[in-house]
């Protein structure tokens, strides 16, 4: 199934009859109003870290299961912390995907967990459409949050990036944002492009070698550059992407050192962008491959701020998806 076809199907599913969030599978099709509501709600959750007891009782008595069919450190732990800070009971499962009959065993896993009275699944899976598949087949009272599916989408990462950008730059309308690196394999980039365009930035520019860009990438609403030195001009926000070696099945690059020479972000290249440009990276970072340590740890880097913001943004999305879904008021 094509990615566009998946998106079209999901749109009908992730909002309820009142237009409220029920599942969070993709940014595609969500309105600017809804994305802004997520950012505003996340804003309210930031202060909870100041409390001695870093918890609010919103989701007390709810059970959330993190289903991770792919490795993750940041995403899983921040989802887990977010659930705990909302007072939900949370269970994190790392499941190997070695089984050949994935569809069937996945449904069986879901049915078993449903029988344990679960209220929400947070799903990461190597196959595009996995979270949507679960959302379609799970019991009606259960919400599903996509924590990354194949090369399709990683919407909570995109929202925490939007939150971080808004926190520092305030207004999206004037911003020029560059996304640099392995766009081809990046579900993060897809979700970021959709979110940035929905929130109405002035420009989204992708900078990458031709081999790491999907065909017809312009149709996503981006401008394209194949040179870091040229592409970084007038840029306010720089988003570096990790080289996803584990997803590369053919020789797309001569070598890592060659890649770093052309597309690695160094201090001197950073100077080409606007002086107050911020540097972002969804992590994990490959130092010396896509980004120099001096930039990653430098004053313009907001990489660790992104991680902290991940908790508040995921709290917002979880609590919104767990709101009463019509007919209960």
């Amino acid at each position: 199934m094509t990615v566009a076809a998946i998106d079209a199907m999901i749109n009908k599913l992730q909002l309820n009859a009142e237009g409220k969030l029920k599942h969070f599978i993709t940014i595609e099709g969500l309105s600017k109003t809804l994305l802004t509501e997520i950012l505003d709600t996340a804003e309210s959750f930031v202060g909870i870290t100041d409390q001695q007891i870093k918890k609010v009782p919103l989701l007390r008595g709810k059970t959330i299961v993190n289903l991770f069919f792919e490795n993750s450190t940041r995403t899983r732990t921040t989802f887990e912390l977010a659930a705990k800070r909302l007072s939900a009971d949370v269970l994190s499962m790392s499941i190997s995907t070695s089984s050949t009959s994935k569809g069937e065993s996945l449904l069986d896993t879901i049915r078993n967990l449903e029988a344990m009275f679960v209220d929400m699944f947070v799903v990461r899976h190597g196959i595009s459409g996995a979270a949507h598949f679960i959302a379609r087949h799970t019991a009606p009272h259960i919400s599903v949050i996509n924590a990354g599916d194949g090369q399709h989408a990683h919407p909570t990462q995109a929202m925490l990036d939007m939150f971080t950008i808004r926190q520092i730059k305030k207004d999206f309308a004037t911003l020029r944002v560059a996304i640099i690196g392995d766009i081809l394999h990046s579900r993060v980039a897809r979700s970021q492009i959709q979110a940035l365009n929905t929130l109405g930035v002035a420009e989204v520019r992708v900078i990458a070698p031709k081999t790491l860009l999907p065909a017809h990438v312009e149709t996503l609403g981006v401008s394209v550059s194949h040179s870091l030195a040229e592409g970084l001009k007038d840029i306010d926000v720089i988003i570096m992407l990790r080289l996803q070696k584990e997803r590369m099945t053919s020789a797309l690059l001569p070598s890592e050192s060659e890649y770093f020479k052309c597309f690695g972000l160094t201090e001197s290249k950073l100077k080409i962008a606007k002086p107050d440009a911020i540097v972002m990276h969804p992590g994990p970072i490959n130092r010396g491959v896509e980004i120099d340590s001096k930039v990653a740890d430098g004053p313009q880097s907001v990489i660790l701020k992104q991680v902290s913001n991940g908790i508040a943004v995921r709290m917002a999305i979880m609590s919104m998806a767990m709101q009463p879904q019509g007919g209960m008021q």
Partner: protein
């Protein structure tokens, strides 16, 4: 007609008496958003408390999330880092069912364990549903379910009593 200054005068007197009898030491004043903060600002000035006023938004502690969900424009609470062992004056505008105060107490205790908490409200309108009651009030009045007290402010601060046709609160 409810005259806000008369109510504030009375509340201030009662609060001062309570502070003396319960021997509140260097009290921290906390206003509950939004109306409670306006009343607290007035009392804070009248009692000449040096320490800045703290603000509490109880939205995440309400007991009706399963009915109405989360409010998107919750303002962050603004509380000092340490309230462990402190004496606290909690201020709200109207006391009705008691549920707001329950939520506020829960939130306060998530910041630390205070020594004592005194509850001051401008108006106790009657109708409590849980065993919580104010310590100091500007006025007590028994209102019907279809009557509402609304505070407008902060400048000028005024109080309005309205009666709706429906008896739903």
């Amino acid at each position: 007609m409810l005259e806000i200054n008369t109510l504030l005068n009375h509340l201030e007197t009662e609060l001062q008496q309570t502070l003396d009898t319960r021997k509140l030491n260097n009290p921290l004043m906390i206003g509950i958003r939004t109306g409670g903060v306006w009343i607290a600002e007035q009392l804070h000035q009248r009692l000449q408390i040096d320490e800045p006023l703290s603000l509490l938004d109880i939205s995440f502690y309400r007991d009706d999330f399963s009915q109405i969900g989360v409010h998107p424009h919750v303002k962050p609470s603004c509380m000092p880092a340490h309230i462990e062992g402190r004496d606290i004056i909690l201020v709200d505008d109207v006391f009705y069912t008691g549920r707001t105060v329950r939520a506020a107490l829960n939130e306060i205790f998530d910041y630390g364990r205070p020594n004592q908490v005194v509850l001051a409200v401008l108006i106790d309108r009657g109708g409590k549903q849980i065993p919580i009651a104010p310590d100091c009030v500007g006025a007590r009045m028994a209102l019907a379910a279809n009557q509402r007290i609304k505070l407008t402010g902060p400048e000028p601060l005024a109080i309005h009593l309205t009666t709706s046709a429906s008896d739903k609160p």
